[in-house]
Assembly symmetry: C2
Homo-oligomer: 367 residues x 2
């Protein structure tokens, strides 16, 4: 017992499939006022559900928008996904989701799959990577994307253009001012913190991580401070934890000549993590080694992940309107509201530095 078709509905209503189509799904030609009712009744009685695949086939578009993320369970990506989903709903489209673990190779197959499904547009949320080992995959990815674009697809990218892409006109990259905001964060921190800074970064070649690191260093320079040491680790909580463990040893070691714990502002470093989850991981590790935040170490993250908002000490970070980014990437140039949105990049919602407890320098006591 398969789903009923348009022709069946038409037959039941005693009209041609063409007419049935016209009333059930919009058309330029408005069908007869009372014949329409007959069709609608027939459709209802047969509980007719139009076959989107067939519709898509003839119109050669699918009403699908594809989203590519590293990991949907990562709060950073799920926030973006929410925005993309909202945009999709506004346009009456559905969301196709692909996860890639951040590897360009898997991104490539995702794009191919989306292209095969004739997705109307695709959004790439994950950070681009230019690590040498990803070179080939990146080339394939950009080739796949360019082809998709040439065939009429639109692609929205967050943060960075796709490496090696050439069909620029159909890419819409939403600008994420990582470097500027990172610099700004450090600028504010430098005013209240007199000790050293230390950067907790992701693997080299991860563009988002690199941008933020560059911003941190730039901010330091602007404040008249020397560049900070960079500790490289995984771009996730686990990476932050691992790094936190070694850092704890260093901090404790460097202060061993005192009471086993460093004291005074001079001995207390400020860790600049390139994202919130790494910062949280580091905090967990530092604590497990007996250190306290912000007493023994200051720390700041990046992203302002919502689920982490009740974390204590409250994490200093850079708030990013992730959901809006997602919406923007999905909407692309499609925005038909206000007439003049020439300065596309200009309209992107900015982030905001949030200084909170984890970088408070006055309170030397408490957790």
């Amino acid at each position: 017992m398969s789903a009923s078709t348009l022709s069946e509905v038409a037959r039941l209503a005693g009209v041609s499939p063409a007419t049935a189509s016209r009333v059930l799904n919009g058309s330029a030609r408005t069908p007869g006022p009372e014949i329409a009712e007959r069709v609608r009744q027939a459709a209802a009685s047969l509980s007719y559900v139009p076959n989107a695949q067939a519709q898509g086939l003839v119109k050669s578009k699918s009403g699908l928008i594809g989203l590519i993320v590293h990991d949907i369970a990562d709060p950073y990506f799920s926030a973006i996904a929410r925005g993309v989903q909202a945009a999709a709903r506004e346009q009456g489209k559905m969301l196709l989701l692909a996860t890639t673990n951040g590897t360009p190779a898997e991104e490539c197959v995702a794009v191919a799959a989306f292209a095969a499904r004739r997705a109307d547009s695709i959004v790439i949320a994950g950070s681009r990577s230019i690590r040498p080992e990803d070179k080939n995959s990146n080339a394939e990815l950009s080739a796949e994307l360019d082809r998709y674009c040439r065939n009429g697809g639109r692609v929205g990218v967050m943060g960075h253009p796709v490496v090696g892409a050439s069909a620029h006109e159909c890419y819409h990259v939403v600008n994420v001012p990582n470097e500027e905001l990172a610099a700004e964060l450090v600028g504010k921190l430098a005013k209240i913190h007199s000790g050293t800074f230390l950067i907790l970064g992701g693997p080299e070649g991860l563009l988002t991580s690199d941008d933020r690191i560059r911003g941190y260093q730039r901010g330091l320079k602007a404040a008249g401070l020397p560049p900070a040491e960079i500790v490289r680790t995984g771009f996730d909580r686990a990476g932050g934890y691992d790094a936190g463990l070694s850092l704890a040893k260093r901090i404790l070691g460097g202060a061993r000549h005192r009471h086993g714990v460093p004291q005074g502002a001079e001995a207390r470093p400020c860790i600049l993590a390139v994202n919130d989850v790494m910062a949280i991981g580091a905090v967990a590790a530092l604590r497990s080694e007996g250190l306290r935040i912000p007493r023994d170490t200051l720390i700041a993250g990046f992203d302002d992940i919502e689920t982490l908002r009740d974390f204590r000490p409250a994490l200093s970070t850079v708030h990013l309107p992730l959901e809006d980014f997602g919406r923007l990437a999905a909407l692309g140039g499609t925005s038909g509201g206000s007439a003049d949105n020439e300065a596309e990049a200009g309209t992107t919602p900015a982030g905001r530095v949030m200084l909170r407890r984890s970088t408070e320098t006055r309170a030397l006591s408490q957790t």
Copy 2:
């Protein structure tokens, strides 16, 4: 410049479209060894991408699996989504995502949309609701789902059967032992806590919430304790926060005759939240009112959300293998691995009670 078609490839290779189809996409008949190469080359040179819509149309299946969640940015759902995504990948399918804010009405349109797209199966992750105002929507939802099933669709549901569904054979509900685990949690808590218990619940009629509440009460009874008072609020962080605010007043008020803060085990209630995010919200509110956990109030959650793992004090909760649940719901009876998985419900991965710092009764000091 549109995408190239199979016929174009065939023509370029000098073969019939049928043959081209046979080599490019699997078929029973193995095509000629060297003619195959010609086709493959032609396909490559035209950068041919098969049209999944056309394929789906003729095979009347789409390779799509639909997932319905309340909110993809909620860590509970994003964990499930990861599991469903993994299952989809294993089966070579793609994931269609719909969000509904938990309203049966929107679930209904999502199901219709999935049906229209001829999704091979659909997974409903959100809690079912039997609130009176949802009655009509529920009826429509189950009608829509039953129709989808009758047309050959499979549906996986988490936790509870869809209210009013009748085509039972094509539903696969993955059993979430909410009540049992809730009772178990309380059982363990009752052994170490001698004060009162208080339940922080969601709106009445939300099945997941109701189950957990019932479990809590059952556990209390089993421990020889009276039923706990139930505070109803929203099933999310905001709900927890609001309730926490009023609870704080009560707790402080009840102890005002002492030092402004309750002291001793007797005065300290244990809050049983029906999920982690509510518990976290409540903790935030209690803290903002100057109360400390677990010194002044014990609290436990439910779900064991990963992103909350570094929260301090560590939250006592019930660990649920959310990702596995998602996988199971998506795989349904499709599992072809081991021969005898008769006791389907029996194989579902169980949850586990996790007693942590937030319900520690010995430490009366510290945050």
